[in-house]
Symmetry: C2
Subunit: 568 residues, 2 copies
Amino acid sequence: MAAAAVANGGVSTVKLSSTPEIGRYSTVYSELQRSRIDHSLPLPRVLAGNFSVVDGPKSTAAGNPDEIAKLFPCVFGQPSSIMVPSESEGLSSTQKLKIGVVLSGGQAPGGHNVICGIFDYLQARAKGSTIYGFRGGPAGIMKCKYVELTSDFVHPYRNQGGFDMICSGRDKIETPEQFKQAEETAVKLDLDGLVVIGGDDSNTNACLLAENFRSKNLKTRVIGCPKTIDGDLKCKEVPTSFGFDTACKIYAEMIGNVMIDARSTGKYYHFVRLMGRAASHITLECALQTHPNISLIGEEVFAKKQTLKNVTDYMVDIISKRAERGFNYGVILIPEGLIDFIPEVQKLIAELNEILAHEVVDEAGVWKTKLTPQSLELFDLLPQAIQEQLMLERDPHGNVQVAKIETEKMLIQMVETELEKRREQGSYKGQFRGQSHFFGYEGRCGLPTNFDSSYCYALGYAAGALLHAGKTGLISSVGNLAAPVEEWTVGGTALTSLMDVERRHGKFKPVIKKAMVELEGAPFKKFASMRDEWALNNRYISPGPIQFVGPTSNAVNHTLLLELGVQA
Amino acid sequence: MAAAAVANGGVSTVKLSSTPEIGRYSTVYSELQRSRIDHSLPLPRVLAGNFSVVDGPKSTAAGNPDEIAKLFPCVFGQPSSIMVPSESEGLSSTQKLKIGVVLSGGQAPGGHNVICGIFDYLQARAKGSTIYGFRGGPAGIMKCKYVELTSDFVHPYRNQGGFDMICSGRDKIETPEQFKQAEETAVKLDLDGLVVIGGDDSNTNACLLAENFRSKNLKTRVIGCPKTIDGDLKCKEVPTSFGFDTACKIYAEMIGNVMIDARSTGKYYHFVRLMGRAASHITLECALQTHPNISLIGEEVFAKKQTLKNVTDYMVDIISKRAERGFNYGVILIPEGLIDFIPEVQKLIAELNEILAHEVVDEAGVWKTKLTPQSLELFDLLPQAIQEQLMLERDPHGNVQVAKIETEKMLIQMVETELEKRREQGSYKGQFRGQSHFFGYEGRCGLPTNFDSSYCYALGYAAGALLHAGKTGLISSVGNLAAPVEEWTVGGTALTSLMDVERRHGKFKPVIKKAMVELEGAPFKKFASMRDEWALNNRYISPGPIQFVGPTSNAVNHTLLLELGVQA
């Protein structure tokens, strides 16, 4: 094929409906964005034809079912719902529904398609229904700030990244007053249902809303949808959260490029910090996609009770061995939340928070004597810039801002120091130059992969059907994801079945526990079986940019396939 | 289409020839990398059939032709070469050539394809020829470190990013001794020709080698190829350097993603520093592709003699106006070399280098009194972290390491400070939170776009033909790039015609002047005509990931099309 004189990013303007805020500007699209709008989405076979919604067995809770039952007297123990093919349409097609939808928390590729899925379901199966998009996250519910979603309004967002259709927010509906506001909105808009698209906290919140509405005898049902690029909201019935697939592939593209650069240049160690504060799924998935020399997995560091010195030594050992083989370069992946997994660092930070709240930090360092000996030793081990960051950058409550610590730069300095020590001892003769990277915001709003596009659309379609069937307190569940889309299973899972309790301020609080990297799970075991090979030999893989057509366009991430037992 | 259970990055192992260094490990490929190996490349029509090499008019120099003529007595004034279709093959197909090739300087996507182009030319038109790849850049020539390139050896690198086939290096062949080493290698390997793939310096070096070989009556001819992601090696006959297209598209993908994140989140200003120290072409191209709110172009800052305060105020004015419209977010592009373009910063750094070489830096700051008043004022304006960086981080010669200054972080702090001032004055009421990014290494080794793949292949094929025709001291030139590949023109341009002289250490040195962003050129003018609109309204475009098939896969970058007059 010949390259023709087409401008890259040739643009076309798609006028949005003139709604007060969003319609203020019209959106400009690249050729690729526009081509994605027209990408037609497959539906699971069961949703494409007539189906009815069938109940599974009663559910319990992930932990402490008695406490969860007490916290959710109306919705606890509900059975799962499963969509099954039927001769005739199981649900009334003449019923008109009023449904609200809200995006909650951080962006994840595919959110718009969940909304499109709900919209298209209602258009197809409950014609004349109304769908409201709450603006700016849960605050939009509380303040009754919304936009009515029309065909023209949702169209430009089909298969697009971002949450800019109705935007998101991090507010929570927590206090009795806030629940009251949500009720008022539900009544005012005469809502039959609400779909909450969010992570673990937002889905817990969705269940509390479901419970609250039912206890108040409101007709408004609530369905959750699993969103987070971090991949830490999942269980048997919900095999993955949307956005994880796209975000990991974007990060892996960058990592793969940096790897080839490292091998071509031969003189840099690239330390790549990846988003994912609580769990290390992103780092693990990117490692499986790209085969870096070193990948730190927070859950393993925690399980092995490793110290920062242990972690540093692990890296330095590999770097030294590589130098002996003539490789003075490499790529190292670091989860954003690494230091949260190191107990001694947590202890140091707790002590610093305590001391700095009461003591004057004197030049002579008398304040340091208040630290326990272990914490003092750790503090002295840290590079000066990190010491200063710990001392100076505090949040409004006076606490150390752990999130602001640039872990990758800290590790580069610690590795440098240790290598210098070894050089003096004669056990290291290589050259070390570190380059730091942080990949985060680049991955949250990319164009969703074909997988995330289809998965989100099915999640939304299912959420519409569950509300149509009068279900509440469920999370939209799409399974059999290793098979072609047509064969995916569809249903809903009781949100209470995902829950446990945590004791906070003397009270039990319901939580959906974050799904951490399982050290006995297939993805980590595959990684662990290969990492030594990757460490010393160069087995880099460069996945390249996400493709939307062609042989690689329907690929599914390793974590999901391994967890489904599809990939050895 | 249904998503099937294909593992993303499904891998295949391609065994490399067992050469001493590179064959030590076999390379592992992703599905996409492998599919790119098999991507067949179109050739300009003139190269696909019989052609002869015709001379154009005699050439001169870009400046000071008399001095250039003195520096290059053997090769100065050579005519351009143009490939034209002919009835019969113009060059002897029985001649067997021995050709060396070297990659010089930083990575750029497409380098491997230049080598494949030379290889395939020789296979097709001078069967039985030998091609040697010098290892690790020009040092490989001097040390006679090479590998013989065979069909099996080059195959896995077709259409792949990186320079890892033979690696690169930044050494230069400068001293009489080094030229002697190069001669020895040329004689030892009985080289008919050498292709130097590099930037402005490397091509100057290529011409010096051509001159040297000819003056010594060696048969070895030298041809250059234009490589650099920075896009600053170009002229009428060489419309672009390879790698620029791919690198800019990779950066634009990331910028586009960050833009949608900014709009979805509504609370961050993303300050994106982009590679390109000498010229701001990358920033300009990325701006044209993505429509950021602010883009700083070094050449404009320099032409307008702007101060750091001017630059800061420009940004703060826009941020304030956006806040009035309710937009407390945005995206700002910054060329890596920005501060090199600000005269007052250069002056401060020169003074600091001088002072710090002789004075003790005292806590009380007496040393500061040695600064001129303007420099002192500027120094005090800088954020503390930058002040410390200027004082503490010095290279082995004691000089301030300008390259290590994280300009994007510096600007975030300066903007913050100025906004606080305006808040106190009551003229700013918004919220400002900066996020910093640096996109550089991610773009140098990506899979080359279809454009770069084809362009490089043609450059290499042409280089082979020029050597076959006995040409020396030319740079491979492929033109008419806005047309389909088949219609591209092919030839060679006298390297001396690109040159001017610079006076260094009392001597004239030949240089190929870097092509800077022309403020009267079409790309900048288009940008300048649109930036006010982009600043206050949100006209973000997200180009998305590079596609290798489909409607967007043959797109060409804006800069090239505008310079060719194709795009209005």
